[in-house]
Symmetry: C2
Subunit: 359 residues, 2 copies
């Protein structure tokens, strides 16, 4: 089924006429355009009404002309200098549309519409995030591209690591490589030091790298709206036996986690297996964050953490990112982008866990 | 007067015992540390109580160890695995502190404290942003560094512009130069095309630059917590007579604006003078944004726009950034960082308005 067909089905199940999206990832997902992230280029689209003959777009002033010129298969309600706010234009439109039941993905917008349209019921439900969970061919194509660029950037950053350079020197190489390769934006967060910090992006980025440091680099990039996300960790030089054990333990925890990411697996079980890897070393308390967030256009499902964990399904895409940060020793985190296929987990990011440095 | 003395004076005027800051720029401003942005490295510090013998810091878990180890002139209430939330630690602390009147800079925190501490009055007022408005020597030192790095990055980006390259190729050079020069983060937003868009950062960043394009690049960087911000515009090649008039008009509007930024000037007057530059060409409706925002650690005063405009004072630092974006012709914006000294406006960013390209 196409994206539009899946939405139609969800609307029929709920006996609703339309789905109004104010959330950018949902807007991008359902828009009939080959590269919607270059049109809805910022969170400035008030709402898009899906479920009629063609989508009706209510852009904010900053992207109104772009929407008018580029969204050829949509009705665009232009918003230019001196016009009423797009929220008001939406309300005027809906009052004339004769709809009986509307589903809105954002509580604030739902609240502002409720009681304003005679004879129309407003429900708030984020249909989009649920439908987006199962990745389709287009999702996978763009996620593979994001993963490829992430691999490139991480490899370039690690290749620049040597004592005496700063963290900024290193991530400058990685971010440069990823922008040149087509990422819309690229941010790398290096963490290096004696392990007195829990941090991931914290710490002084101007810090000079020293022999014996443990270092890890996380990143966030976007490629055609899709998140690229990975982390690699290493030791600058030989390091101590204890540091090597730390690094190997995190890598083993990662492998344990990803191996368990099969369709039907309960995220809570996967999380426990990862915690066990750390607990065996007495490091349970130093693993302080989630294991997985969903991947895609943003705010994605499923999630795996100590507070809440989903059961995995075929078509899920999620991170696997265990890490520990031990005062006086060092910190490490390893992360890949994972696709849950019928045959099991597939790593979308694929560069080696131990990346060579400039040593 | 020192920052601490100015805060003490403000507290005395309000007969308040302490100022509790939950807003990162205010926290950075008053902390007794040479580089607080490398310690409070993210918006994860719940609150800092200022006005006692030394600041009392309530960090979130991610930066707790960093605060403990690096903030030597503060009392740090550590927050580690299994501890109550720092919000709760703050309440416990305040209940024992015997304070009569507290000023809090964030409405949410003020609301959560109100009525929870016997005999203590909670007021919400953002004292910090007001005190931070008048720049001191340290502010200026860091803002000059941010401006120097911004100049470098913009010059590098423009030097890379040539037909056939993408916007990403260009900003990769600029961001690389700025990270290497010590910016903690660097984002450039290029806008190029036929002028059908109002946008600044919108549009497809993979678009290939063409001869005859109008192009402008805005940026946001941080250097020791301080914003670096500038915009340059140009024409790729000769362009048309009309494009050259557009570019010159924006440059003239910029010069008109900055010349008017003297102590005591009313921002509303300055705004009108800039609008007049565009109105004379019939382009009034294409100038759709503010002229100035404050500069510093974030959320700064003063502001100049159509909706609200402040009267300028000695010690102000603000952007001056007029621009117009005309469908079918092109868009241009010019922006510098301005310091309002006793003698008048000083441009902190100083590279030429017409930067050379790789043509």
């Amino acid at each position: 089924m196409t994206r539009a067909e899946r939405l139609t089905q969800a609307l029929e199940e709920r006996r609703a006429d339309v789905f109004i999206s104010a959330i950018r990832p949902n807007q991008l997902y359902f828009l009939p355009h080959p590269e919607p992230s270059s049109v809805i280029s910022r969170a400035n689209c008030c709402a898009i009404v899906f479920g009629l003959n063609e989508p009706v777009v209510f852009p904010g002033i900053w992207i109104s002309n772009a929407c008018r010129d580029l969204l050829t298969d949509c009705t665009v309600i232009e918003n230019t200098h001196g016009d009423p706010l797009p929220e008001d234009q939406l309300l005027v439109y809906l009052r004339k549309a004769g709809l009986k039941r509307i589903i809105v993905d954002q509580p604030g917008l739902a609240e502002s519409l409720r009681g304003q349209i005679d004879g129309c019921q407003i429900e708030c439900e984020d249909l989009g995030t649920e439908i987006r969970r199962k990745k389709d061919a287009r999702d996978l194509e763009h996620m593979r591209e994001a993963a490829r660029i992430a691999d490139l950037g991480m490899t370039a950053a690690f290749a620049a690591i040597r004592p005496g350079l700063s963290c900024l020197d290193v991530i400058a190489e990685g971010e440069y490589a990823m922008l040149k390769a087509g990422a819309e934006d690229a941010t790398m967060s290096p963490a290096v030091g004696e392990g007195t910090f829990y941090l991931d992006s914290a710490e002084n980025p101007r810090r000079l790298i020293r022999e014996g440091d443990m270092i890890f680099i996380d990143m966030a990039i976007h490629v055609r709206g899709y998140l690229g996300d990975m982390t690699r960790a290493g030791i600058v030089g030989e390091g101590t036996e204890e540091q090597r054990v730390l690094l190997e333990t995190v890598q083993r925890a990662y492998k344990t986690g990803v191996a368990a990411m099969v369709p039907g697996a309960d995220g809570a079980d996967i999380y426990r297996q990862v915690v066990t890897c750390f607990a065996e070393r007495g490091w349970k308390d130093y693993y302080v964050h989630h294991l997985s967030h969903g991947l895609g256009l943003g705010g994605d499902l499923p999630r795996i953490g100590s507070a809440a964990a989903d059961v995995l399904r075929v078509g899920d895409a999620l991170s696997c990112e265990p890490g520990v940060y031990i005062p006086g020793l060092g910190g490490a985190r390893v992360e890949n982008m994972i696709y849950v296929g019928e045959e099991g987990p597939e790593e979308l990011t694929r560069c080696p866990l131990d990346l060579p440095m400039d040593l």
